[in-house]
C-alpha cells in the first residue's frame, strides 16, 4: 500500500475510533494502562494497516486488537515504554477517580463479583454486548467467532451469570448506585 494512502487510512481510523478504543480500555483497566493499551492498539493497527478493514468498519477489528493488548498487559507487572504516553497533552486527561470504579450498591457489588467468577470469555462477551452495545455480528468479529456462536455464548453466559447471582449469599435489597459521570 502506498505510504500516503496508508497514512490517510490510518488517520481516518485513528480519528474515528480512538475515543471508543480508549473507553473500551478504560472500562477494563486503569487510566494509565488504558492509555498505553490504546497507543499499542493503534501501533498494531498501523503495522497491519494494509490488511485493516475500511476505517468506517474497523471498530470491531480494533476492539479485537485492544483486547489482545489488554490480555498481554494483565500478564505483566511491568508496562512497556511510556514514551508515547509522555508526549502531547496526555497529562490533561482527567482521571475519573476511584469513585468511578466503586460500586456502592451491595447488590451490584455482588453482581460484579459474580461477573468475575465467570470465565473471561463469558465476561467479555457480556461486556461487549452491554457496555460497548455491539450487535452480535460485530461481537463475532471481535472474538473471531460466528454470529450464531455469539448468540449461543451470550445465552450461556447470561444463564451462568444469573445462576451465580442466585447462588450469592444474603441477597441485598436494591440500592442506589452512585458513580461519577454515571447514571445513578
Amino acid at each position: 500500500m502506498d505510504d500516503t494512502v496508508a497514512r490517510k487510512k490510518f488517520g481516518l481510523m485513528y480519528d474515528q475510533h480512538r475515543r471508543a478504543i480508549l473507553v473500551y480500555c478504560m472500562r477494563r483497566a486503569g487510566k494509565q494502562d488504558a492509555l498505553e493499551a490504546m497507543n499499542e492498539t493503534f501501533t498494531i493497527a498501523w503495522r497491519r494497516i494494509a490488511r485493516a478493514p475500511d476505517p468506517a468498519e474497523a471498530l470491531p477489528w480494533l476492539f479485537s486488537k485492544a483486547r489482545g493488548v489488554l490480555s498481554n498487559q494483565r500478564r505483566s507487572t511491568r508496562r512497556f515504554a511510556r514514551l508515547i504516553s509522555k508526549t502531547g497533552s496526555l497529562a490533561a486527561l482527567p482521571d475519573p477517580g476511584p469513585e468511578a470504579q466503586v460500586v456502592r450498591s451491595q447488590e451490584l457489588a455482588e453482581l460484579a463479583q459474580a461477573l468475575k467468577r465467570l470465565r473471561p470469555d463469558d465476561q467479555e462477551i457480556l461486556r461487549l454486548q452491554l457496555w460497548e452495545e455491539l450487535p452480535h455480528a460485530a461481537i463475532g468479529d471481535v472474538l473471531g467467532i460466528s454470529e450464531n456462536a455469539v448468540d449461543q455464548r451470550v445465552s450461556r453466559a447470561t444463564k451462568r451469570l444469573t445462576a451465580q447471582v442466585k447462588q450469592a449469599p444474603n441477597p441485598a435489597p436494591a440500592r442506589r448506585m452512585t458513580r461519577k459521570g454515571g447514571t445513578a
Partner: protein, 256 residues
C-alpha cells in the same frame, strides 16, 4: 426472584463509563502519533513499517537465520566470561548474562527450570503457566542479541514454538519481550509486541469455541494463555484435543 433480564439490566448499570463524551481525549493527532512511533522505532528498534506478507520460503529462511543466530548467541554466552566478581569475592552474573541464560534454558525446553533465574515473586507468579508451557514443549529461540534499554532492562526478540500452536501450523511466532532484572534475578518477562498475535489469538479463540461445543466438560476445566488460569492440566487438555480440532477445521493448519 432474579431473572436473566434483571441481571442484564444491572450489568448494564455496572458500566464504569456510561457516557463516552465525558472522556477527554489526548490531543495527539494521527500525524503526531506516527511521528512518536517513528521515534520509538529508532530508540527501541520497533518496526513501524507496513507489513509484508512472508512466503513460507521466507519464513523458512528467517527461521534458519534465527537458529544460526541463536546458536551463535549461545556459543558467545558460553565463551564470554559473563561473571563479575563483587567486592566480597562472590560471583554475580551480569544482568545481560542472566537474561540470555534465561532464554537459553527456554530454548532447550527447560521452561520451569528457567524460573531458577527469576526472583521468588516471579517464580511464584508464573510457575503454573510455565508448567503449562513446558507441557506444550515451548521453545524460545533468540534471533539477535538482546538490546539493552537500561542497566536492568533488556529487549529481546525470539521466535517461539510450541506443540499446541504447531498443530495449527502457526510455528514459529515472533515475540518481543522486555526482561527486567535485579540482583535477585529476573523480575519480569513482559511481551511488549507479539507480532503474530492476531493469528495466535484467533487460533486460541477458535479452539476454545470449538472445545466448548465439542467437549464442554473439558472446556470448563481449562483456559488458554494469557489467562491466569493456564496451567499444566489445561495444557494437557489442549494438546489432547488440538489435533481433533484441526482435523475438523477448514482454516487449519495454515502453511501445511
Amino acid at each position: 426472584m432474579t431473572t436473566e433480564r434483571q441481571v442484564l439490566q444491572q450489568l448494564r448499570a455496572l458500566n464504569p463509563i456510561t457516557d463516552e463524551r465525558t472522556i477527554d481525549l489526548p490531543e495527539t493527532s494521527s500525524t503526531a502519533f506516527l511521528e512518536a512511533l517513528e521515534t520509538r522505532r529508532k530508540i527501541m528498534s520497533v518496526t513501524t513499517e507496513q507489513p509484508v506478507e512472508k512466503s513460507p520460503k521466507e519464513r523458512t529462511r528467517r527461521r534458519n537465520i534465527a537458529l544460526a543466530l541463536g546458536a551463535a548467541v549461545i556459543v558467545a554466552a558460553i565463551g564470554v566470561s559473563a561473571l563479575l566478581v563483587t567486592d566480597d569475592g562472590s560471583d554475580v552474573a551480569s544482568p545481560r548474562a542472566v537474561v540470555e541464560e534465561f532464554i537459553d534454558l527456554q530454548s532447550s525446553g527447560q521452561i520451569v527450570a528457567s524460573l531458577e533465574l527469576a526472583t521468588d515473586e516471579m517464580a511464584d507468579r508464573e510457575r503454573d503457566s510455565y508448567e503449562g508451557f513446558e507441557v506444550w514443549n515451548s521453545r524460545s529461540e533468540q534471533t539477535e542479541p538482546c538490546q539493552e534499554i537500561s542497566q536492568s532492562r533488556f529487549r529481546c526478540v525470539t521466535l517461539d514454538y510450541d506443540d499446541f500452536h504447531g498443530a495449527g501450523g502457526l510455528n514459529p511466532f515472533e515475540n518481543h519481550t522486555t526482561f527486567t532484572v535485579n540482583e535477585a534475578g529476573v523480575i519480569s518477562d513482559v511481551t511488549t509486541s507479539l507480532v503474530d498475535f492476531p493469528a495466535i489469538s484467533g487460533f486460541n479463540l477458535r479452539f476454545m469455541s470449538w472445545l466448548t461445543e465439542a467437549h464442554p466438560e473439558q472446556a470448563a476445566q481449562m483456559s488458554l494463555p494469557p489467562s491466569d488460569n493456564f496451567n499444566a492440566e489445561a495444557a494437557r487438555i489442549a494438546l489432547q484435543y488440538v489435533d481433533e480440532f484441526v482435523a475438523q477445521s477448514d482454516d487449519y493448519p495454515i502453511n501445511p
